[in-house]
Symmetry: C2
Subunit: 681 residues, 2 copies
Amino acid sequence: MSRPAPRGVLLLTGAMLPLGAARADEGMWTFDAFPAAKMKAEYGWAPDQAWLDRARLSNVKLGGCSASFVSSSGLILTNHHCAADCLEDLSDKNNDLYANGFTARRRSEERMCPGLQSEVVTNIGDVTSQVKQAIGGAIGLAAVKARTGVIASIEKASCPDTATTRCQVVSLYGGGQYKLYTYRKYSDVRLVWAPEAAAQTFGGDPDNYNFPRYALDASFVRAYENGKPVVTPHHLNWTARDPKKGELIFVVGNPGSTERMLTQSQFSYQREVNLPIELAINSELRGRLIQAMANNPDRAREGEVTLFGIENNLKRTIGRTRALGDQAFSAMLAKSETELRAKSAGNAAIGNPWGEIERAVGALRGIDLERRFSRPSGELMNYALRLVRAAEERAKPNSERLPGYSDSALPLLEKQLLDARPVYPWLEQLRMEWSLLKAREYLGSDHAQSRLLLGKESPEGLSERLVAGTRLADAAVRKGLWDGGATAIAASSDPMIMYARAIDANDRRLQKIYDEQVDGPLTAARAKLADARFAAFGASTYPDATGSLRITYGKVGGWTDRGVTTDYRTRWAGAFDRATGARPFALAPAILASKARLNLDGTLDFTYASDTIGGNSGSPVIDRDGNIIGANFDRNLPGLRNDYAYDLTMARSIAVSTSAIEQALKVVYPAPELLAELHAK
Amino acid sequence: MSRPAPRGVLLLTGAMLPLGAARADEGMWTFDAFPAAKMKAEYGWAPDQAWLDRARLSNVKLGGCSASFVSSSGLILTNHHCAADCLEDLSDKNNDLYANGFTARRRSEERMCPGLQSEVVTNIGDVTSQVKQAIGGAIGLAAVKARTGVIASIEKASCPDTATTRCQVVSLYGGGQYKLYTYRKYSDVRLVWAPEAAAQTFGGDPDNYNFPRYALDASFVRAYENGKPVVTPHHLNWTARDPKKGELIFVVGNPGSTERMLTQSQFSYQREVNLPIELAINSELRGRLIQAMANNPDRAREGEVTLFGIENNLKRTIGRTRALGDQAFSAMLAKSETELRAKSAGNAAIGNPWGEIERAVGALRGIDLERRFSRPSGELMNYALRLVRAAEERAKPNSERLPGYSDSALPLLEKQLLDARPVYPWLEQLRMEWSLLKAREYLGSDHAQSRLLLGKESPEGLSERLVAGTRLADAAVRKGLWDGGATAIAASSDPMIMYARAIDANDRRLQKIYDEQVDGPLTAARAKLADARFAAFGASTYPDATGSLRITYGKVGGWTDRGVTTDYRTRWAGAFDRATGARPFALAPAILASKARLNLDGTLDFTYASDTIGGNSGSPVIDRDGNIIGANFDRNLPGLRNDYAYDLTMARSIAVSTSAIEQALKVVYPAPELLAELHAK
């Protein structure tokens, strides 16, 4: 394979622009504002409303991932790495589903994934004026409270049936628009099929965010309701054909977060404060985890998915650091802001949101370390903190609660807290200890918050005492505390609960300062900034990613970087060429054993120009006819800049092809029932 | 204690300036250019030549540290952390000198420190014209070769007796001046006294680069020759008095490296390339080491000094990252360059060194990752690489060898390679594996250099094979390979030697590119830059630190940061107040047991305005009368910016007082013989 030489430096291409007037193929569009006219002008064709409706109703939000229905019986295709938590939760020493893969031969063998919920967007409404009216002239903390309150009320009123629906007010353009998303939800998601982990992790961290790539990053789950598979007339048609170079494709899913509307003062904060800290502390955590797992098969199994998450995040942080450290890229971002400011000059309604944001960022810098290190890490600590907080919040009226504890949010929170999942004490100890060490390091030993977090104990000793002493790993204990509410929490002598009680007030205090000095002012300023963009670019712009449903389109194809062209697809043969036998370049055993039966020329993974970000994992790649031809799972290295700007000429997204999945189902991990279901008309 | 709140942000004070016209108290002066007139103008007094000569001849270069003679029998005071390698080397499971401390009751109990050498500067001569003449009009690789060759020849000719002397041509002002330093060397250094490690590491990483501080960072070693203590008529007089606020002090030692002459393109390289990589990879190494040592007392003992080094370095990297991430600080550096360029405009002899440096930095960026990751880490790997390279270099004429392998450098190299020292296989494995993983991560799996380093092996497997298979931990094996030269190296089937042989050519290739495109052009450009500084500021400037002998002066005192004033000294009582009983805030057992006998009001550590950097560890703090009143061991947090600029108002250096050492010798770790020697007239 031909790869560019040292990848420390990325060239800046003229085609890269931050969020402004969106160009061809750029944009994470909402379904209620799809740029059909623009697309028609570019491609001579655009999907009609029926096409868009089917794409939307086939699409599944699956935890932090994306997915799609691919049969009429609730069958869902997503990435393997999106089902990794479930696979790990269902694994133990003697039955390692994560490592060995899983195939349900019949429905009764399908196994419920703890904490996982699937949701379909059934309606999108505009509540901008309602929310803005409620905020009115309020500023700071009052504005945040007003916003939180009206959102909780709208959500509750719009989705009275919380068993089957969820309502969510999505803030777009940083507060410029508020949209009400209604979801049909299915809280019972079961594992159907997954390959061996090595089929997905082949290439490991070195190949992550890289292409050529040879990952079978696919799995199937199924939505259930009342113990039965959900009937899903809206689903994508399965086609196992190879993608064609240059063909038009759509990617539908839930991109998590982009920062294309940031102002210069916010970029400075990223560059000077946030990214260096994230880089240092998460690199250290990575090292601790790698070392803890070395030569320890149990820990290696128990920690693998966590490590993947840390490394994936870290690679993104490194990519963002490089992007903002690149003078040409930074100059481009600065120029874009200068232009918007020039276009907005003299518009009294807009005023100076940049200055307001700069002040808010100044306040953020002042409390950054305290906020960042206000609570120790770990699953058990998370349980404790959420149980403690929920007990207090649930006693309040819906509209006065903290976000995340409103009536519309409680059912999923309850599920996440109470579903039984394994907890690994060594990993809890490691993460809690690490986070407390970092708190002390960055705040300083003599800081009041260090004293609050540690008392006279050491990070190591405190973590050991709490992890050894708590009973929160037991779902029944958590249920008792949830059901018992404030009384049970106040009476609890569980050391982790007692600790969470002791630090919660400080966390709330910081949140108030943040709301008053940062979030409130930012919301007001960003709404003006959104107006400035609308005034300058009209409706041709799209909002930053917020984890809500989006559609993006582009063409299947590779890219050229400094004279080196990378082809748009990999073949199965390439995986065998690349394998060394040593992890992470060791092929999954079943793939290795299937070589003779595989069509080695068939497509494994492929790339396309499309504007995605983390959260788009599992998104269906849909052709013009509405068929699914792949499951999006990654970006290439230039795509790591998608946080700040989308580079049409170089940024590519990566999918595993349905062709590859079909071969896997036929030859490697035979699942004839599943194949029959996929091909049923 | 009053400490500033979150220490993420440092204020920029007007008194901070990069290297230009040096102000009062700023400057790491060479002994042949002490600014006596300037000091006299500021203080009404300056040391005469006899004072300076005694300070110089009492001063000891001790590996990468500084130190001083404090008796007429070769007794040397340095930091505990400068003797830590020695203490660890002499420790084992059953006799942990590092943890428990060490006191030689008589000379015969003093124990030789492997690899350690002590050196005193006996002469400084100017060889600028000789070196510049040899370089002549050569550029690139030819210039580097000419420079290396003439330096090797000068050093060899000037120090024919390599058993007792060493000659070193020191390049100052990045090539603006070349000075010949002649050292009297003593290759036999023995451990005399050290407190428990916890007496020095109290406060650990959290308190490192912080003050108030409570570290007894002192130890004594002794220089020997022919099996006898060296007679040292030139030594500092011991005084155990407390330092006085505002009194004038001098710090003499070997500051390792500053970067105050960097140009904007070099700062960009630091900010965008070097610092983020260093931050990420060393944080990961730190995490691996912490985890490997957790709950493993043997490893905790064997790895502690290594971990301290990594954490110390990392804290410095974080400090540098913050400094260069600070917009006001960066603007100040940029302004300084703009001013020098303006002053130099129209001076044809100077030309445009900034542009030349920018081109060289461009070339550096192009090969940065390959150079950075050209060789795996670890003691055993270092042995192998140096043995392989030495075998080839020693066969060449002196003036044609790579730097570090000239006749003047060989004796110390030989000592470092052949002295017996313990090697810890787990640590070797960890470091080698980590470095290979990082090489693959940053270069990419498909890079030719990744393939050269790994072949088809994994970083884990390769490291395991080499560490398990090599016999280089045995000093006798190393001696065989050293004595056997090229023939022995070529015939060796030691896997580490075979590996080093296989990768050496690539390393040499990279060095050539570096010399041709980076070092050569930089040397030429920096010489012009030095001329520009001389023209603009006259002789009032001082060169960047280069690990060579310097003297700096200032006043004992604390500082005020955002309204919070920190006193200039700590007392023993403070250590007892600060102790929590949990590491790193657990007092050393002997100190704890001595509380009743200590003068708790006596000074432990103290601060003073003086321009120091890493390498100044162990430097004597000398009063006006030439008495030693402390051993410098650290800087405060604002002092972390000393790399780039010295801030007189806030940057402070930190010493352990002789008063504290005296109390320790009397009460905590009784050493009456040592006290008698220190107080002998």
